[in-house]
C-alpha cells in the first residue's frame, strides 16, 4: 500500500515536471529573436542570450495596444539611444515614472531618443484603459507594446518591475535600471549618452522652478509641484 502511494507520488511529480518544461508560449502576436536576429521559438530550450551591459539583448517584434507592430532592433539602429521600459499598469512605481518618460521622449525624440514601453502580460483593453483613459487622447506618444504571454519579459530575465534597458545605436545595452527612473536619472543618462547640449537650455528653467517651490522667490505653497 505504501509502495503504491510512493509510486503514485513519483508519477505525479514527474508529470508536473514534464508539464512545467513544456512550451507555453503561443507567440501569437510577436516573435523573439536571439542576439543575431534569428527567430527562436523558445529561449527556455537552452538558448541563453546574455543580458548585461555591452551585450546585445534579445530582439523582439511585438504589437502595440493599437495593433501596430514595432521591432526593437530596427528602432535601436534608427536612433541614437533607445530606452526599453518594462512595466505594468498595476505597478505603482511604473505609473509614477511614465509621465517622466513621456516628457523626456517628447523633448528628445527629434534628436534621436526613442522609448519603447513593453507591458507585461496585460491585454490591449487594460492597457488602453490606462493609456487612453478618456477614450480619445493617448497620454503617451511612445509605442507601448504588449508582451501578452510574457516571453519577452522572461527572455530579459526580469525580476523587478519596472526595469529599463538603454540601448545605443548598435543595439547594445549601455545601461540597466532595475527600478523606477526619475527626472534626475533620466537627465544624467541622456547627458551621458549624447544629449548634453539640449539639457543646458532646460536646466535654467528647472532651477527657476525649484527656486520658486522652496520659496526663494517669495510665494511658498505647503505642497508645491515643479517639473
Amino acid at each position: 500500500m505504501i509502495k503504491q502511494r510512493i509510486n503514485l507520488m513519483l508519477v505525479v511529480t514527474l508529470a508536473l515536471m514534464v508539464l512545467a518544461a513544456c512550451d507555453n508560449t503561443s507567440g501569437a502576436v510577436g516573435s523573439l529573436q536571439d542576439g543575431d536576429g534569428k527567430a527562436v521559438g523558445d529561449l527556455k530550450n537552452g538558448q541563453q542570450v546574455e543580458i548585461a551591459i555591452g551585450s546585445q539583448p534579445p530582439g523582439f517584434t511585438l504589437s502595440d495596444w493599437r495593433g501596430n507592430t514595432v521591432d526593437l532592433m530596427q528602432t535601436a539602429k534608427a536612433n541614437k539611444l533607445t530606452l526599453v521600459n518594462f512595466w505594468a499598469s498595476w505597478c505603482a512605481d511604473c505609473r509614477a515614472e511614465m509621465p517622466d518618460l513621456e516628457d523626456t521622449y517628447a523633448q528628445y525624440k527629434a534628436a534621436g531618443f526613442a522609448v519603447i514601453g513593453v507591458d507585461i502580460r496585460e491585454d490591449a483593453a487594460t492597457v488602453k484603459n490606462y493609456v487612453q483613459p478618456d477614450g480619445k487622447t493617448a497620454l503617451y506618444s511612445f509605442p507601448i507594446l504588449l508582451d501578452l504571454d510574457g516571453a519577452v519579459t522572461k527572455a530579459y530575465k526580469l525580476a523587478a518591475t519596472p526595469s529599463s534597458f538603454l540601448l545605443d545605436s548598435t543595439g547594445k545595452i549601455v545601461h540597466i535600471q532595475l527600478g523606477p527612473l526619475n527626472p534626475a536619472l533620466l537627465k544624467d543618462l541622456t547627458i551621458k549618452y549624447g544629449f548634453a547640449k539640449l539639457w543646458l537650455a532646460k536646466s535654467t528653467a528647472i532651477r527657476n522652478g525649484r527656486n520658486a517651490a522652496v520659496g526663494l522667490r517669495g510665494a511658498r505653497l505647503p505642497w508645491s509641484t515643479t517639473k
Binding site: R95, P133, D134, Q177, G179, R220, W223, S224, T225
Partner: protein, 505 residues
C-alpha cells in the same frame, strides 16, 4: 538627657508587611523600595508596550490637531468597529504619549532610585568593609576549603604565603604581628568593588527614562513619522525650525533577483530661502541639521491634483502623498488627503488596490470630499490621468502620479543621554557578570611538628575559584606543604582537571 517619660512619642504605623515604621515618610520610602512594586510596574509597562506595538499608533504630528486626530480615528472604524471610541478614550492609539504611560515610567524611575539608595549602604559595606581577619572557627566549614601541613615554623610559612595567594588575587591584608600562639591571618581578593557595577546599570536605566522624557520636559523635541515629500516638491518642517526640505529625487534599485538593493532620497534643506544642506539620505544615514534629523523611512506614490474654482482660479495645486493604507472605501487601498476652503473641507484621494480592482482601476484616483465638522459627504469622482470633473463649482483634475520620499523627521535632545545611559548599562552588566568577586582567607597556625595553613574561599559565582585554590595548594605543596584536607568541590575540580589532562595527553 530627658527622662524617658518626657521623651516625645513618635507615631507608629503598622504596615501589611508587619514591619514597624516610625513615620509616614518611612512608610512611603518602604513602599517605593518594594520589589513587588517594581515587578508590577515592569509587567504593566511591558504589557502597555506590547499593546502599543500591535495596535496601530497615530502619527505624532496629528496629536496636536483635534480635527486630524478625529479624521485618523475615523479611519480606524473599519478595523476596530465599536471598540474604536473606547480605545481612543483610553489612549491606545497614542499610547506612548499618554499621561498614564509616562506616569508608569515616572513611578518606576522613582522605585529604582529609592531601591538603589536603600540598598546602597549595605552593598557598599559588603564591597568595602569585608571582614579580613577571621577566627579559627571560620575555617571549619565551607564549600571551598583546604588545609596543608608544613614542617616549618609559622613564621617561615607566613613568609611564603603571600606569594602563593597572589597571582590573580590581590593580598589586601596580612597580619604584621603574630597572635600569642604564633598564628597569622591573611586575606586576598579580586574585583571586590565591581559588584557596585549593578549601580551603573541602575543609573543607566534611570537616565534612559530621563532621556526619554527630556525632550517633552524641555519642550523642544518632536517626531514626525509620516513626513512625505513628493519628488520635485518641497515641504516645511514646521515645529519652529524654519526648515524647508526639497526632494530632488527618490531612487529605488533592485538586485537582478528582485530583492531591494537601495532606497535613497536626494534632499535639499533651506532656511529663510538659503540652501543650508544637500544630502542623499538612506535608512541608516540621515541628514542632521542643528539636531533635526531626516531619516529615510518609506516611500510610495503621490497624486498630483489641481482644483480650480468657477472663475478658473487655482484653489489647490499639489502632490498628495498616498501614504496611508485604508479600508475606508472598500479593499485596502493607498490613500491620502488634502484640505480645501480654509480646512473646512477634506478631500480623500484613494488609489487602486491593484490588479482586479474594478472600482478604482490601476491608474485611476477616487476622490471624495466631505465637511470636516459634520462628516457630511459633498462630492465624489473617479478620475483617470489628466481627467477633470466638475463638482459644486469646482473643477478637479488628476494630473499624474509621482513617487514620494517618506521621511522620519525629529529632534530629540534626550537621545545623547540615552546613548550614554545605554553604554553605562552595558558596562555595568559586564562588570557584574564578567568580573565576579573572588575572596580567599588564609590562616597559619602552629601545630605539633610545624604549622598548618587553613584556606577558605568565597566567590559571587563559581568564577574559577576552585581552580585558583588548587593552584594555591600546588604552590604550597611545592613550598614543602602536605595536603591534609580538601573540600568536595575542590576534589571535583581536581578530578575534572585530571581528566582533561588525560584527554589531551
Amino acid at each position: 538627657m530627658p527622662k524617658k517619660a518626657e521623651r516625645e512619642t513618635v507615631p507608629v504605623i503598622e504596615t501589611s508587611a508587619r514591619v514597624r515604621v516610625n513615620s509616614f515618610g518611612e512608610a512611603v520610602w518602604r513602599f517605593f523600595c518594594s520589589v513587588k512594586l517594581a515587578m508590577s510596574l515592569i509587567a504593566l509597562i511591558a504589557f502597555a508596550t506590547l499593546l502599543g506595538t500591535v495596535i496601530i499608533q497615530m502619527p505624532p504630528e496629528l496629536l496636536g490637531d483635534p480635527a486630524s486626530r478625529k479624521m485618523w480615528t475615523t479611519g480606524m472604524q473599519p478595523r476596530f468597529g465599536d471598540l474604536t471610541g473606547i480605545m481612543f478614550d483610553l489612549g491606545l492609539f497614542n499610547l506612548f504619549s499618554t499621561l498614564w504611560f509616562k506616569g508608569l515610567l515616572a513611578v518606576l524611575t522613582l522605585n529604582i532610585v529609592v531601591c538603589t539608595l536603600n540598598r546602597l549602604p549595605a552593598t557598599w559595606k559588603q564591597a568595602t568593609a569585608t571582614r579580613m581577619k577571621v577566627g579559627p572557627r571560620f575555617y571549619a566549614h565551607g564549600e571551598y576549603a583546604a588545609s596543608y601541613q608544613f614542617a616549618a615554623t609559622p613564621n617561615e610559612v607566613a613568609a611564603k604565603l603571600p606569594a602563593a595567594l597572589a597571582g590573580g588575587l590581590r593580598v589586601r591584608y596580612q597580619e604584621s604581628q603574630a597572635d600569642e600562639d604564633g598564628s597569622r591571618s591573611f586575606y586576598a581578593d579580586r574585583f571586590h568593588l565591581l559588584p557596585l557595577g549593578t549601580y551603573l546599570n541602575h543609573i543607566g536605566i534611570v537616565l534612559i527614562f530621563i532621556g526619554a522624557i527630556w525632550g517633552t520636559l524641555m519642550g523642544d523635541s518632536f517626531k514626525l513619522v509620516d513626513f512625505a515629500v513628493p519628488q520635485g516638491s518641497s515641504r516645511e518642517v514646521g515645529q519652529g525650525t524654519g526648515l524647508v526640505v526639497y526632494n530632488n529625487g527618490f531612487f529605488s534599485e533592485n538586485y537582478p533577483d528582485g530583492r531591494p538593493a537601495d532606497y535613497r532620497s536626494d534632499l535639499t534643506v533651506t532656511r529663510n530661502g538659503q540652501e543650508i544642506a544637500r544630502k542623499t539620505i538612506r535608512v541608516n544615514d540621515p541628514l542632521d541639521i542643528d539636531g533635526v534629523k531626516f531619516h529615510q523611512a518609506f516611500f510610495g506614490n503621490a497624486a498630483d491634483i489641481e482644483v480650480k474654482d468657477a472663475t478658473g482660479v487655482t484653489v489647490y495645486k499639489g502632490s498628495v502623498p498616498l501614504a496611508y493604507r485604508s479600508k475606508m472605501y472598500g479593499p485596502t487601498r493607498p490613500m491620502g488627503s488634502f484640505s480645501l476652503g480654509n480646512g473646512e473641507v477634506q478631500v480623500d484621494v484613494v488609489s487602486s488596490a491593484g490588479q482586479g480592482d474594478e472600482q478604482v482601476k490601476p491608474g485611476q484616483m477616487y476622490l471624495r470630499a466631505y465637511a470636516i465638522r459634520s462628516d457630511q459627504p459633498l462630492w465624489e469622482a473617479t478620475l483617470g490621468q489628466r481627467q477633470s470633473s466638475s463638482q459644486q463649482g469646482l473643477t478637479v483634475t488628476f494630473q499624474r502620479e509621482r513617487l514620494f520620499s517618506g521621511l522620519q523627521v525629529g529632534r530629540d535632545p534626550g537621545m545623547n543621554l540615552v546613548v550614554v545611559a545605554s553604554t553605562l548599562m552595558i558596562f555595568g552588566i559586564m562588570l557584574v557578570f564578567y568580573f565576579p568577586v573572588r575572596r580567599l582567607w588564609a590562616r597559619v597556625e602552629p601545630r605539633e611538628g610545624g604549622s598548618v595553613v587553613l584556606l577558605k574561599g568565597q566567590a559571587s559565582r563559581r568564577a574559577g575559584l576552585a581552580g585558583k585554590m588548587l593552584r594555591v595548594g600546588e604552590d604550597l605543596q611545592a613550598a614543602g606543604g602536605t595536603m591534609l584536607h580538601r573540600s568536595t568541590a575542590l576534589d571535583e575540580e581536581y578530578d575534572l582537571r585530571h581528566e582533561r589532562e588525560l584527554a589531551t595527553a
